[in-house]
Amino acid sequence: MNATATNTVVFEILRQDTTDSTPYWEKFELEYRPNMNVISGLMEIRRNPVNTDGKHTTPVNWDMNCLEEVCGACSMVINGRPRQSCTALVDKLEQPIRLEPMKTFPVVRDLIVDRTRMFDSLKKVKAWVPIDGSYDLGDGPRMPERKRQWAYELSKCMTCGVCLEACPNVNTGSDFMGPAPLSQVRLMNAHPTGAMNRDERLNAIMGDGGLANCGNSQNCVVACPKGIPLTTSIAALNRDTSVQMFKNFFGSDHMVD
């Protein structure tokens, strides 16, 4: 069904009132406006929260921030696929438009999920470049411009959680941290200053819930809204950890170089 022909837009939303209450579907029909996206639809529902039964209901809760697919906050499952709702244009979606939270994460309310586990993983793998010291450490080593351009692609990750939602090995029965934090290890290890701690990051992803949990379904690279080469990152880290494993076992003078 084409939205423009009917002049209305139908949303079916999987709602959940509290963190542990039972989810239920609720349907809304809105007047079509040109260039609508899912967020403008949700805003319209918030303004006038009446479902298709004519019943006044609570406004639907969702998360958002930048509205230009850079922050990752508005990620949800739209017509069965996890993606950002800000760039989900109504004209390009099949109706009814079905919205669900990314249930890989704990649901806070309606479409809001708690992505804390991703930020915990980034801490666990030390996804930063440590430069703090008790005195000025001066300039670090320079990064070749072409390498910087390549690394920039990896730096586009916005921790949106879509790759975790797409991954069959990230679920309640597994501790797998998912592709996003792994790719950040590759990014930080590629940085000339960050590389000074590369063995620490590799050892972190060789622990519980780390790299080895990847089963190569390669959904992440299909799902990533930023086009990050996640599966290439994972394979590259597989090589790095293969070498690190032998260094750890036999000992090495080349832990960081």
Partner: protein, 216 residues
């Protein structure tokens, strides 16, 4: 008390902290020795296409290898049991989503787990029916034994499913071995290894199924 410590040590080795090493071991054992053994087994079976005498001669040669019990336990049973039981654990921690992402690799991911579980059942039955019967002195492993088993159409279908599952699981396992150890990294290298491993799948399937057909 010492038994308690031994058990606890066993549990510790299998803990989540050692997941990386267990997964790497699982990946390695699938190729060496299990993959090599499967390929060898299928090639020996292929002697059946040259008649009962050729098959019996080849299987007798394998049986009369020196240190055969040692070889069986350390090249086959122990690595196979680890690969099987840890593999079942891996299979059941996945939550497959081929409806959401119907891509080639996502289907391969699912099929690798499905064939793995089929193989645990098939291989357990296959060993019980052949090697175990010989071990308890109930039967001889030879051409007639296989011909008797495969004369039953249901068993024949079961064996075809088992052999095709094994050749697929091995071929696709080589693909993921190459990724898991970081040998193939770029999308192009992974695509080429897909073609090569699917070639291995076809070749081993022809060898395996031809041997089965020779018994009926």
């Amino acid at each position: 008390m010492s038994v308690y410590f031994e058990v606890m040590r066993g549990v510790t080795v299998l803990s989540k902290d050692n997941e990386f090493y267990l997964r790497r071991l699982h990946s390695l054992l699938g190729i060496i020795p299990i993959g090599l053994f499967v390929a060898q087994h299928l090639v020996i079976n292929h002697f059946a296409t040259q008649g009962p005498e050729a098959f019996n001669k080849a299987s007798h040669f394998m049986e009369s290898l020196p240190f055969v019990l040692f070889l069986e336990w350390f090249v086959i049973y122990i690595p196979l049991m680890f690969h099987a039981f840890y593999g079942v654990y891996i299979s059941f921690t996945a939550k497959s989503n081929t409806q959401r992402y119907g891509t080639f690799r996502n289907w391969m991911f699912l099929l690798q787990r499905v064939t793995g579980v089929i193989l645990v059942v098939f291989i357990a039955w296959h060993i019980f029916e052949t090697r175990f019967q010989k071990a308890i002195g109930a039967d001889e492993v030879n051409f007639d034994m296989m011909a008797d088993i495969l004369a039953n159409p249901l068993m024949f279908v079961f064996y075809v499913v088992g052999v095709v599952s094994a050749t697929f699981h091995l071929a696709n396992g080589i693909w993921s071995f190459l990724v898991s150890w970081g040998i193939t990294q770029s999308p192009r290298s992974q695509r080429i290894s897909t073609y090569v491993t699917m070639g291995i799948f076809l070749a081993l399937t022809v060898i395996g199924v031809r041997a089965l057909l020779a018994f009926v």
